[in-house]
C-alpha cells in the first residue's frame, strides 16, 4: 500500500469510524441504563436522514436551522418510542423488551418505505460540508475532516456531563442499580428519557455527518450502520462511552483497511465486523474498557 | 486430617476455604465438617459469608484458596491465580497447588443438593414438573431415544419416583398447581422436595425457615427431622431462626466477617461470648 492510499484510507476510516462512534454512544448509553439493545436506533438514525431531506427540500431551511430542527424531531421520535414501546415492558423479561425493539425497527423501516417510497432520496448539500478539500494527494469532502473533530468534542462534553454533573451522577446510579436509585429519590423515567434525548440527538448529528459524503437515504440505510455500531459498542465495552468511541474507530478503520489490504475480500467487509465482534466476545466478553459484573446467586 | 468424631463418616469437609471478591474477603480460611447423619447449623449475622460457603461447596464459583472434600474425595480445590496472586489476603496461602473445579451440575450428580435463600423454583411450571425435572440427573438414555419414546420404562420410573416423593412430602394435592401460585411456606417445602428428587446424601438448606411464623417453622423442624431419617441425609443448614437452629442442629458453626468465630453444640454456642458480641455488637 503506497503512502497516498494509506493516508486516504486513514482519512476514510477515521471519518467513518467517528460517525459510527456517535451512533454507538447512543447504543451504549441506552444499554448501560436499560440493559436493552435498542435495535431501533439504526432506524432512528435513518429517519434523521429523511428529516434532514424534508427540512431542506420542503421547507428550505438554512443548514444551521436544519441541524437544530433535525435534532429536535429525532429526539421527539426517540423519546416517543421509549415511552410507547419500551416503558410499558420495563418490568417484563429482557427478551420481550428486546423483541419490542426489533418490532419498532421493523415498523420504522416499513413506515419509511410507505411514506417515502422505497426510492433512494438525495441527501441535500448542507452549507460547505460537501465541498471537496485536498491535502496533498488525499482528497475528501470537508465533512470527512470535520466528523472526527465533532466526535471528539462531543465525547468530552459527554464525559463531563456523566462524571461531573448531577444528571450524570443520577445516570450512573440508575445504571448500577435501578431500585436503589429509585429509593434514593432519582426519577428513573426522567433519567431514561434524558438518555434517549442524548442518544437520539447524537444519532441526528451523526446522520448529518454520515449522509453528507454518502448522500443517499433509503429505508434500509440505517440497518447495517445500526448493527455495526452496536458491535462497536460491544467492542469498546458496552455501557462505556469512551469505549463506544474507540469501538467505532476500530470498526471504521478495520472495514476500510480490509478492503485496502485485501481487495479480493471486499465482499466480506460487513461480515468482518461480526468476526471482530465474535473474536472479542470470546477473548474479552466485557469489551476493551468494560467492567466485569459479578452475578448474584 | 483431624477427624475428631471417631468412627462416623465425614461427609463434607471444607478445609481452609477462602473466597475473595476483588478486595472483599467473603470467606476467610473456613474449616467445617459435616458427619454422616448430622444436622449442622451455619449461623452468623448478615453478610457473614454463609451463602458464599454454600456457593463454594456447590460449585457456583471456585474458592480463591482451599479445598472441599466430599466423602474424603476432593470435590473442589483451588489456589490464588492471575490477579488474585497479588490481591489475595487470606490465610494459608501456598498450601494448595491444584485447581479442580466442578460445575454445579457435576456436584449435584455426586449427590449434593441445595435450596436457595430466595426460593428459586421453576416458577411457571407445576409442582409435579419441578420435582420431575430434578429426576433428569438419573436420565441415562440419550436425547434421540428419549424423544422417540424408546425409554418408556425409564420415563415411567422417573414419573413414579416423582409421584412417590410428592406423596411422602404431602404435596399431592398441589401437584398440578403452578409453583409461583402457592404460598411462601409451601414453596419452601417444594424446593426441598425438588432437592430431594436428585437423590442427595448431603443436603444444603439456605434459610429454610425464612419468612415463616413460629407454627410453620415448628412444622418445618419436624419435616427436616423426618426427611433426614427417611432419606438417610446429612444436612448443613443456614438459618436465622434461633428456635429452629437450637431445636434441631446437633452442632453449630458461627461465622462473622467470613471468619469462623465459634463451633460447638447449641448449648455451647448459646453461651459463647464471641457469638453474643457478633450478634449484639460490643459495648465499648
Amino acid at each position: 500500500m503506497d503512502q497516498v492510499t494509506l493516508f486516504q484510507n486513514l482519512v476514510t476510516g477515521v471519518s467513518l469510524g467517528s460517525a459510527y462512534a456517535l451512533i454507538a454512544i447512543g447504543y451504549t448509553m441506552v444499554y448501560g441504563i436499560l440493559r436493552l439493545i435498542n435495535f431501533a436506533h439504526g432506524d432512528i438514525f435513518m429517519m434523521a436522514g429523511y428529516f434532514t431531506i424534508f427540512a431542506v427540500s420542503s421547507f428550505g431551511m438554512p443548514w444551521y436551522i436544519t441541524i437544530l430542527f433535525v435534532t429536535v424531531v429525532t429526539v421527539i421520535l426517540g423519546v416517543t418510542i421509549e415511552k410507547v414501546a419500551y416503558r410499558p415492558l420495563r418490568e417484563s423479561p429482557r427478551m420481550s423488551i428486546m423483541i419490542s425493539a426489533i418490532g419498532v425497527s421493523y415498523l420504522l423501516v416499513n413506515s419509511a418505505t410507505y411514506l417515502f417510497t422505497g426510492l433512494p432520496r438525495a441527501f441535500p448539500q448542507l452549507g460547505f460540508l460537501q465541498k471537496v478539500y485536498h491535502i496533498g494527494d488525499v482528497s475528501a469532502p470537508i465533512v470527512t475532516f470535520i466528523t472526527p473533530v465533532v466526535t471528539i468534542v462531543i465525547l468530552f462534553v459527554l464525559l463531563y456531563l456523566v462524571n461531573f454533573t448531577k444528571i450524570g451522577m443520577a445516570m450512573r446510579a440508575v445504571s448500577k442499580d435501578f431500585e436503589a436509585a429509585r429509593l434514593m429519590g432519582i426519577e428513573i423515567n426522567k433519567i431514561i428519557s434524558i438518555t434517549f434525548v442524548i442518544g437520539c440527538s447524537l444519532a441526528a448529528i451523526s446522520a448529518i455527518l454520515y449522509f453528507s459524503p454518502r448522500p443517499m437515504v433509503f429505508p434500509f440505510s440505517g440497518f447495517m450502520p445500526g448493527l455495526k455500531c452496536f458491535v462497536a459498542a460491544v467492542l469498546g465495552g458496552i455501557g462505556n462511552i469512551p469505549g463506544a468511541v474507540i469501538g467505532g474507530f476500530i470498526i471504521g478503520l478495520a472495514e476500510t483497511f480490509l478492503v485496502g489490504i485485501f481487495p479480493q475480500l471486499t465482499g466480506y467487509s460487513d461480515a468482518f465486523t461480526f468476526v471482530l465482534l465474535i473474536v472479542m466476545l470470546l477473548f474479552r466478553p466485557t469489551g476493551l474498557l468494560g467492567e466485569k459484573i459479578a452475578e448474584k446467586v | 486430617m483431624h477427624d475428631n468424631n471417631g468412627m462416623k463418616n465425614n461427609v463434607l469437609k471444607m478445609e481452609n476455604t477462602s473466597m475473595q471478591f476483588g478486595g472483599v474477603l467473603a470467606l476467610n480460611n473456613l474449616n467445617l465438617d459435616v458427619y454422616e447423619g448430622e444436622i449442622v447449623g451455619l449461623i452468623g449475622p448478615n453478610g457473614a459469608g454463609k451463602t458464599t460457603a454454600f456457593n463454594v461447596v456447590t460449585g457456583v464459583y471456585p474458592p480463591t484458596n482451599g479445598a472441599v472434600y466430599l466423602d474424603r474425595e476432593i470435590l473442589v480445590e483451588n489456589y490464588p491465580q492471575g490477579k488474585m496472586k497479588e490481591l489475595y489476603s487470606g490465610e494459608s496461602k501456598g498450601k494448595y497447588t491444584v485447581a479442580k473445579v466442578l460445575t454445579p451440575d457435576r456436584i449435584t450428580k455426586l449427590r449434593v443438593a441445595r435450596t436457595f435463600q430466595n426460593i428459586r423454583l421453576f416458577k411457571d411450571l407445576t409442582v409435579y414438573e419441578n420435582v420431575l425435572i430434578a429426576q433428569h440427573v438419573k436420565q441415562k438414555s440419550n436425547w434421540l431415544f428419549a424423544s422417540l419414546m424408546m425409554n418408556h420404562k425409564e420415563e415411567k420410573a422417573m414419573r413414579e419416583e416423582a409421584m412417590r416423593l410428592l406423596e411422602i412430602l404431602d404435596l399431592v394435592d398441589v401437584k398440578e398447581k403452578t409453583a409461583s401460585s402457592l404460598p411462601y411456606g409451601q414453596q419452601r417445602h417444594i424446593e426441598i422436595a425438588r432437592a430431594l428428587a436428585t437423590d442427595p446424601k448431603l443436603l444444603l438448606l439456605d434459610e429454610p425457615a425464612a419468612g415463616m411464623n413460629p407454627q410453620e417453622s415448628d412444622e418445618l423442624m419436624h419435616f427436616i427431622g423426618r426427611i433426614r431419617k427417611d432419606f438417610g441425609l446429612s444436612i448443613l443448614m443456614i438459618e436465622h431462626h434461633m428456635q429452629v437452629v437450637m431445636g434441631i442442629c446437633e452442632r453449630i458453626y458461627v461465622l462473622d466477617y467470613g471468619k469462623l468465630i465459634a463451633e460447638g453444640s447449641p448449648k455451647e454456642i448459646q453461651s459463647n461470648k464471641k457469638v453474643i458480641e457478633a450478634y449484639l455488637g460490643v459495648d465499648d
Binding site: M98, G103, L107 | K109, H136
Partner: protein, 378 residues
Amino acid sequence: MAFEYKRLNKTTKIILTLLLIAGCIVLTYMLDKGIIGTSYTVRIVRISVIYALIGVSMNLVNGFTGVFSLGQAGFMAIGAYTVGVLTIPLASRPNVYYLVPISEKIQDLVMPFGVALIIGGIFAAIFAALIGTPVLRLKSDYLAIATLGFSEIVRAIIANNQMWPITNGSLGLKSIPTFPSLFIPVIISTVGIAFMVLLIKSSYGRAFKAIREDEVAAEAMGINLFKHKGLSFIISAFFAGVGGGLLAAHLTAIDSNQFKIMVTYELLLIIVLGGLGSVTGTVLSSFMICSGKELLRWFDLPHSIGTWKIPIFRPGLRMVIFSLLLMTVVLFWRRGLMGRKEFSWDGIYNFLRRWPWRVRRLIRGDYSKKQEEVTPNA
C-alpha cells in the same frame, strides 16, 4: 355460580384427534388436487407449513430453552444451499452456473430430495455445533448479537467469489426441483414438528424448560447448562436447515439476499405472536402471518370512493399495518396467541363452554367476580 372446568373422556379425545388428522389429510388432498383453492392458496399453505417448521425450531431455542438466538436465517441458508446444490438436475447445471462452471467435485453429484434435505439439516447442525461452543457461553443479549453476526457471516461466505463454483455466488441458484405434491412439505414439516414436540415432552425438554425458568436452579438440579443448551441449539439448527431446504424447493430459485437478518426478525415475530414457548401458537401464527401478509395485499392497491382516490392506499401500507399489528401484540398482548399453553381438546371444550357461561353472567348483570372463572392448571 362458578365456572366448572370439565374434562372430556379419553375415547372422545381419540376420536376427535383421528377426525382432525383425517380432516387435515382430506384438506391437503383437496388443495393438492385443486378441488378447493387455487395455486395461490396452495403456495400460501406451503410457505406457512415451512415457516411453521422453522418457527417451531426457533421457538425450541428461544421459547423453550430461553436462549435468545437470532441465527436462524444463517442455518436456513445452509440448508437451502445444500438442497439447491445437490438437487439441481444435471441438465440444468450448465445453465445455472453460466458464468463460473460448477466445481468438478460436485458437478455430477445429484441426490434425491429427501437425502439432500437431511444433509442440509446435518450441515446446519454441524455449523451450529461449531459456533455453539463459543457462543453458548455468552449471556443473553451478547448471544443474540453473536448469533446474528454468524448468520451474516454465512451469507457473506455464500455470496463471495471464493465460493462461486459451489454456490454460484451472486447469481444464486435456480431450477431447483419443486415439490411434486403438497403432501411432501406438509408431511416433512409435521414429522419435524412432531419430533420437536416429543423432545419437549421428554426429560430433556423438561430440562430445557428448567434452564429457561432459572439457570442457576437448573444447574443445581444437576442439569448441565452447556450440554443442554447446545443440544437445543443444534437440534434447532438442524430443523432450520431442513426448513431452509424446503424453502429452496418451494422457491426454486434462491440467492444469499433471501437469508438476511430480516428473515430472522420475521420468524421472531411469528413465534412472539404465537407465544414464546408454545408449539401450537407458532404453527397457528405461522399460518396467520403468512396468509395475513397476502390478505393485506388489498391495502397496497389503489382504491377510490367514487372518483376520489383515497390517498392512503399505496404500496407499502400493507407492511405498515402488519408491523403495527405486531407491535400491538408485543405491547398489549404480551403472551401472544397461546402464551405457553398448548393445544388440547379439553382446552377447546372449555373455551367453547365458557363463552355461553360468560354471556349468561353478563345477562344476569353480574360482572363483578372475575375470580369465579376457576381454571385448574392443566
